[in-house]
Amino acid sequence: MMICFTLNGTPIEIDVPPETTLLTALREELGFFGVKHGCETGECGACTVLFDGEPVNSCVMLAVQADGHELVTIEALGEHPHHGWRESKGLDPLQQAFVDTGAIQCGFCTPAMILAARSLLEEESNPTEAQVREVLSGVLCRCTGYIKPVQAVLRAAAILRGESVEPLEAPLPAPPDLFFPPDDVEDSRTLLGSDSPEIATQISVMPRIQINPRTEAYQTVGSPEPKVDAIKLVMGKPAFTADIEMRGMLVAKVLRSPVAHARIKRIDASKARSLPGVAAVLTSEDIPRVAYSTAGQSDPIPGPLDTFSLDNKVRFFGDRVAFVAGETEEIAEQALHLIEVEYEPLPAILDSAEAQAEGAVQIHDEPDYVNFADSDPSRNLAAQIHIDIGDVEKGFSEADHIFEASYEVPKVSPAHIEPHVVVTYWDEDDRLVIRTSTQVPFHVRRQIAPVLNLPAKRIRVIKPRIGGGFGGKQEVLVEDVAAHLTIATGRPVSFEFTRAEEFYGARTRHPMRISMKTGVKSDGTITANEMRVLSDTGAYGCHALTVTGNTGHKAMALYVGDGPYRESPNIRFYADVVYTNTPPSGAYRGYGVPQGFWPVERHMERITRELNLDPLQFRLKNALRAGELHPFSTAWSEGREPMPEIINTCGLEDCVRQGRAGVEWDAKFKNLEWHAVEGKPHLRRGIGVALVMQGTAIPYLDMGGASIKINEDGSFNLLVGAADLGTGSDTVLAQQAAEVLGVPVEDIIVYSSDTDFTPFDKGAYASSTTYISGAAVVGAAQKVSDRIRHRAARMLGTETEGIKPDEIVLRDRCAWSPDGRSITLEEIALNALHHEDQEQIMGVGSFVSPVAPPPFAAQFAEVTVDVETGQVIVDRLLMAVDSGVIVNPLTASGQVEGGMTQALGYAVCEEMLYDEEGRPREVDFRDYHIFAAHEMPELDTIFVETFEPSHPFGVKAVAEIPMDGVAPAVANAVMDACGADVLIAPVTPERVWSALKSQE
């Protein structure tokens, strides 16, 4: 059907079938890849376009509806500031503000946000913060927590009005001796024209940092540099996996199981194969049967090999049954309906408590199952952990009080806005290219090779930009589907999950049932601490051992006790990780630790209240300190040989001090007046806290590599295997290289994650990239620096004057001798590449750490509880975090804000449930609610810098720790508000109501 519309000011006429969505027409017919696919039901907003000036979702609009209308996409706005001899109009002020404020993380939703904001600014030049939040509310962002996008829009509006804006040069200082709010705190929190008292964004884009004096000499490390990929993301360039056109590319679809547990008695794909436009249909009979694990982890995989690309058995609603490749998505979808499958139903285990019951059906009865450690499929056991540190029973016997309780945490989805997506094709050498949205490109290559019966050397994995992963893409989940179909057809194949598949076909956080038992003396000394976990890995054991191990390894390591118990803690951690007929669990930001801190911090709160102890003092009295042995380091290391680790740095006390001041704890806690809401007796305010720790990488295992070479103009190519999944890791790696090489970040050209071209890196997980890959980058940069200084010494003639290369300093794009003479890096590069003793100045670095230095944090929450309905409104979250030295305050605070927002969902609304047949309750963002811009609490971040000596710039991790404390802090605040003692997360209105009822 011919339709005409105006697109970005240009009349367009295209012929589309009426069923084509506007999104498909824009992307596939017209090549406007700035419009993104995040769902099919209009809830995420990634597909936003302006339709006659208003933001709408193009995935829920037919292209034919646009006939006669005006459309605007991100491609209408701005251009790269430098286009050679042609003068560029530069970025749009909104785009520039998004770059400057760090409002871009993965960048997948950025074009949509900018378009929505543009529609507002065209109507209102001086918007309130509430108006900005409202206009952004149609676009879900899983990365940022919305603070920086809101600040970007307000900043752009101010610039467009001709007003001056805050310079973005340095973070705000947080005084080291801060106990009470500094005088300027109130000013910094002034609302920006907001007409809604519930919403507050700090004027300052920068977070507060208690700066470590050792970092003051740094030029680039510690600086709020714009992300190196910001310009392409803000312009909506085709940077993501699906933003590619290939001649003859097929579309893949997966037939999924409609039952929770069954054998496939018969499968007949003949009708589907004969459908015109179907290029291939694959069942388990058509491809090799290879047992593998989808968990993207280092070799050897620390878990059972219990998965097959396709099997003759299905183990959960949504499990794979067959693969189809069609000329179009519609044809592939149609073919799925033509595949005839006869299932022999089997009893389904939907409750983890029933997995090990007598007579329970065996979910994995295949003979080619490969055990790891204590896995035992005959007992539906994917992993088992028994750790005893010290003498736990003796510790209990020495306690004055024993506290026991049971807790639960839910299954939740990473819910990255870009779905899992992959494109595969044979290149001109008949090597299989896998362009995939993954956090683990090197693991994908290694792990998929045997599944495809291809040697790894004939596979190239490319990771483009990723639209968020959060652990969900630490999985070899989609690559084999497309690859099998490319092998079958010889043609390029694309495969992208629908949003519904993200809920029943992807991975989730492990739900757990946890029992705590803690011995405490009357003075508040913990004498022994025990956690017993029943963890539900779902139908497959990917990450089963390691996620659950982390639950104890981090959460149970924090409170060691005091006095003699500090010297020799008594800790027990037992866990059974069982199979059920539910979608598999896996990696999700925090990797088992949020599950652990819910019971630990709820338990600590209950103890403090029972014994009438100060909650902050009690926690600090028993918490791990610098110089002490990580109690689990000699007991467990992800199924490998454990090695002792000393905690070098711990800023927890400072975190508590800064957070206590920032949240004005002393003015609120136990202040009856503050807890009341005037005129509304059914509302009660509460304040809560949780202390948490995480880890930084896996010691003796996680390795990152980097290479750096100089170019003729004195710029550098930095090649890293590290996988930036939207966190900004490419940027902080470039900053570390730039610091060593004495150049601005713009002189570092980063290329990441291509198994053919970049050095190995284990991938983006375990909060490791800034630390592990960063140290590798520093190592490579130091080698390059060394060669540069040697050549500079010779060029300057300093060698004959007794000046050693070591005394030459790289700074401001020059090499400087101590006598003040200098030579530019460009001159050095030309000399090396063209003039004398020619060489490619280049360095390769790699790093593996003997320690996993934990970041620490104090998480505070303020809530208002409706004691009649149980409804909880979270008013404020403040996190004071010791992540070592902060390389980039914008990206680091973005991590904290975004992490707290995900954790907020975990605290109050995110939960995946299944009916009695194992069918999911949540298949879209309507029922699986994630927070939108207009309903956010106030978010605050304070960094307390320590200098971690195991890293050249003193960094530790920041990515995962924001997930850990919000849920227990919110629940503790609810308890503070009204006494409701909620033991099951999330803290839903009904659970608060039930807890209040139980008090009656």
């Binding site: 907003g45 149609g138 309905t869 609304c909 609610h929």
Partner: protein, 260 residues
């Protein structure tokens, strides 16, 4: 799954002639994901059904008015109706979704349908320019035997109106929601109209509670009837016991507000 036919008629008459072949499409936000299940869609955008007439005692809202337009029409429609529209969907959806579409697709957790029920809304359909209570239409909206085209909604202008919901987060769909409107007759008599949502296929009108209030029931008695209305309203999102009690809590609150 087959090829979809698309029509964009210019008149109601033309539209009605097409109704046997397909289903009306206003914003498309609900229908587009279901497009493979229908043979044809009839795009209503050229029918000029987006008029809003706000009189002293009645409000008439054209079927293709966008939900966001109702929020912007602060002077013309009750604030609580705008509040319910805002809770209904995110902004981008509201910019495309029509009120007619919301009537045909909203479920029991729809804040907007709950609010509309409390406004004693009637639905005007063609052919025949028929008017029937929204409550009745909701009961039989899946009946495709007699295709009807919604052209407008008519509702009372309340003296006062309040909406409140309980949800897991401020913008989440309600677990329980209540809308209460006060109708004033020309004789100055006050009548309460109330609707309860948060559960099931559609929100419900609290007729029994309304009648009890007419007869002078106390606040507690009225709240008990709201509780009773949701005494079986349990699902995966909330238990019946919870929903019932919260229905009572919200009834007490909003009736107190209405009574000033």
């Amino acid at each position: 799954m087959g090829s979809l036919n698309y029509h964009r008629p210019k008149t109601i008459k033309e539209t009605l002639a097409l109704m046997e072949k397909g289903v009306p499409l206003a914003g498309g936000t609900a229908l587009t994901p279901q497009r493979y299940d229908v043979a044809a869609v009839i795009d209503l955008q050229d029918l000029k059904l987006d008029e809003l007439k706000a009189g002293k005692s009645k409000i008439r809202i054209g079927a293709t008015i966008k939900l966001q337009a109702l929020i912007k029409a602060q002077e013309e429609v009750p604030q609580a109706l705008g509040q319910a529209c805002r809770q209904e969907a995110a902004l981008n959806i509201r910019n495309a979704a029509s009120i007619g579409g919301a009537v045909m697709t909203g479920d029991g957790r729809s804040p907007l349908l709950t609010a509309l029920l409390s406004l004693d809304t009637s639905v005007i359909t063609e052919p025949g320019n028929n008017s029937e209570p929204l409550e009745k239409l909701l009961e039989k909206r899946d009946d495709t035997r007699k295709p009807r085209l919604i052209v407008a909604l008519e509702m009372m202008r309340p003296n006062r109106m309040f909406y409140e919901q309980v949800s897991r987060s401020p913008a989440d769909r309600p677990l329980v929601c209540l809308a209460v409107a006060e109708k004033r007759t020309s004789k100055g008599e006050s009548h309460v109209v109330a609707a309860l949502g948060g559960y099931g296929e559609r929100p419900i009108r609290l007729t029994e509670m309304e009648e009890a209030l007419e007869k002078g029931a106390s606040l507690a008695e009225a709240a008990a009837l709201a509780e009773k209305a949701y005494s079986g309203a349990g699902d995966a999102f909330a238990s019946a016991a919870y929903r019932a009690e919260i229905a009572g809590v919200l009834a007490r609150r909003l009736l107190t507000e209405v009574k000033g």
